[in-house]
C-alpha cells in the first residue's frame, strides 16, 4: 500500500540516496540500506537506547524516527564518531574500565556519553547516571560505565584548562 520515497541523507558526511518505505525506521535504514551496523535495534520502542544516533547534532532514538523524516538532514553514527577520533578517549576509557561485556549497548552508550561530555562538562556521578538513564546495559551494572565517563570528563576538563 505504501510507495517508496526517494531520500537524500548525509550519513557520516557522505550523501546516501535510497528509496525507502515510509515505515522504515532510521535504525533499519542505517543498518540495511547503508550497511552501518554499529547502532543496534534493541527494544524497538524507545526504551533501551541501543539505537541512539545523532540527527543534526542531537542524539535521538533510531527506532522512533522514520528515515523519511530525516530526508535532507545530517546523521552521525558510531562509525562516524569512531573513525573521526571524536570519541577516542571515551572508547579507551570504556576499554580500560571494562565498561562493556557483551557490547550490545556500547555504541548507543558511547553516543549518549559523548553528548553528555559535550553538554555537561562539569557533570558529577549522579548527573552522569541521570544522563545515561535512557541507555540500558544488562551486563555491567553501570558502575564501570560511570567510572569511564567520569574519567574522560576529568581529563577533558584538565585538557581545556591546559
Amino acid at each position: 500500500m505504501s510507495t517508496k520515497m526517494q531520500t537524500a541523507i548525509v550519513v557520516n558526511g557522505v550523501t546516501e540516496n535510497h528509496a525507502v518505505e515510509p515505515r522504515t525506521h532510521l535504525i533499519d535504514y542505517l543498518r540495511d540500506a547503508c550497511g552501518l551496523t554499529g547502532a543496534h535495534a534493541g527494544c524497538e520502542h524507545g526504551v533501551c537506547g541501543a539505537c541512539t544516533v545523532r540527527v543534526d547534532g542531537e542524539i535521538v532514538r533510531g527506532c522512533l524516527t522514520l528515515a523519511v523524516q530525516t530526508d535532507g538532514k545530517r546523521i552521525d553514527t558510531i562509525e562516524g564518531l569512531s573513525d573521526s577520533g571524536e570519541i577516542a578517549d571515551l572508547q579507551k576509557a570504556f576499554h580500560e574500565h571494562n565498561a562493556l561485556q557483551c557490547g550490545f549497548c556500547t555504541p548507543g552508550m558511547l553516543m549518549a556519553a559523548q553528548d553528555l561530555v559535550r553538554e555537561m562538562p562539569d557533570a558529577n556521578r549522579e548527573q552522569i547516571r541521570e544522563y545515561i538513564s535512557g541507555n540500558y546495559c544488562r551486563c555491567t551494572g553501570y558502575q564501570a560505565i560511570v567510572d569511564a565517563i567520569e574519567e574522560v570528563l576529568v581529563a577533558r576538563r584538565k585538557g581545556a584548562k591546559a
Binding site: 500500500m1 505504501s2 510507495t3 520515497m5 518505505e21 515510509p22 515505515r23 525506521h25 533499519d28 524497538e44 520502542h45 524507545g46 526504551v47 537506547g49 541512539t52 540527527v55 542531537e58 542524539i59 535521538v60 532514538r61 527506532c63 522512533l64 524516527t65 522514520l66 523519511v68 523524516q69 549518549a112 553528548d115 547516571r129 541521570e130 544522563y131 538513564s133 535512557g134 541507555n135
Partner: protein
Amino acid sequence: MKAPAFDYAKPASLAAAFDLLERHGDEAKLLAGGQTLMATLNMRLSQPGILVDITGLSGDKSLSGIRLEDGKLVIGALTKHREIERSPLVAEHVPLLAQAVPHVAHIAIRNSGTFGGSIAFADPAAEYPVCAVALDATLVLVSRKGERKVPARQFFKALYETDLKPGELVARAEFPIQAPGYRSVFLELARRHGDYAITGVAAHAKVVGGVLSDVRLAYLGMGGIPMLARRAMAELEGKPYSADTVSAAQGALAGELDPTADLYSTAATKLHLARVLTGRALAALAGGTA
C-alpha cells in the same frame, strides 16, 4: 517490532495539512516528534493509512516557539521538550514546567518529542497535561474553521480521549505566568529515571508567612486523566502549613484519586505513594526550597 506499512506526507502549510486530514479521515494520523506515535505503531497498536508529518510547519508562529504574550507564556505545539528544558523564559515564568521537563523520558527522546504531541496524546502519566491542569492553562486548537480556546481542565475527557475534533490539532498552550509569592513543585516517581511514571504531583500555591492559598494539586498516573484533587486543595486553602493540614490533605486523596493497578504496583500502593509525594511537595512549597 516494525511498524505496519503506511504512506507519508509532509505538508508545507496548515491548509495543506487540513486537506490531507479531510481527504484521509480516520486513516490519517498526525506525526510530529513521533516519540509516542512511533512506539505505538511499532507495537502495532494502530494501523493508520497515512502519517501527516507536521514538523514542516515549524516556521508557522501559531504552532511554534516560546514567547511572552499578553501576560501569558505561550508554548507552540511543535516546541521540542529539549527547547522547553533549555528555555530561560519557561524557567522564570512557569517554573512548574521547568521542573517537570527533566522527567519527560530521556534526552534522546526529549530531542525529538514535542509539547503538542504530549498534550494531544493525553497519556494519563504524562507530565505536561498535569501541569496544564494544575496551572489552569488554556489550549488553543486549530482547524480549517479557525482557532478555538479550551481550558486544559476541560480538554482531557477520559483515558486517551480529548476535546480534539476530527481535522483539529493542538496549536499552542497559554500558561499564566507565575505571580509573586507563588511557588511550584513537581515531583514524580518512576522505576528508572525518565521511565513511565508510577505517580507524580504538580503542586502550586501562594505561600505567605507559611500560610497556603490558591492551592493546586494535580496528579498524574492516578486516573484516566490528569487528576485535580479539589478536596485536598480545599483542606489546605488558607491554612498554615502544619502536620495536621498536610495529613488532612493526604486523607482527602483517597476519595478523589482513582489509580489503576499495573504490573508493579497495586492501586493501594499508588495511592500511598501519591500521599507520600503530597507530603514532600507541600514541605517543599512551605519550606521555600522550590
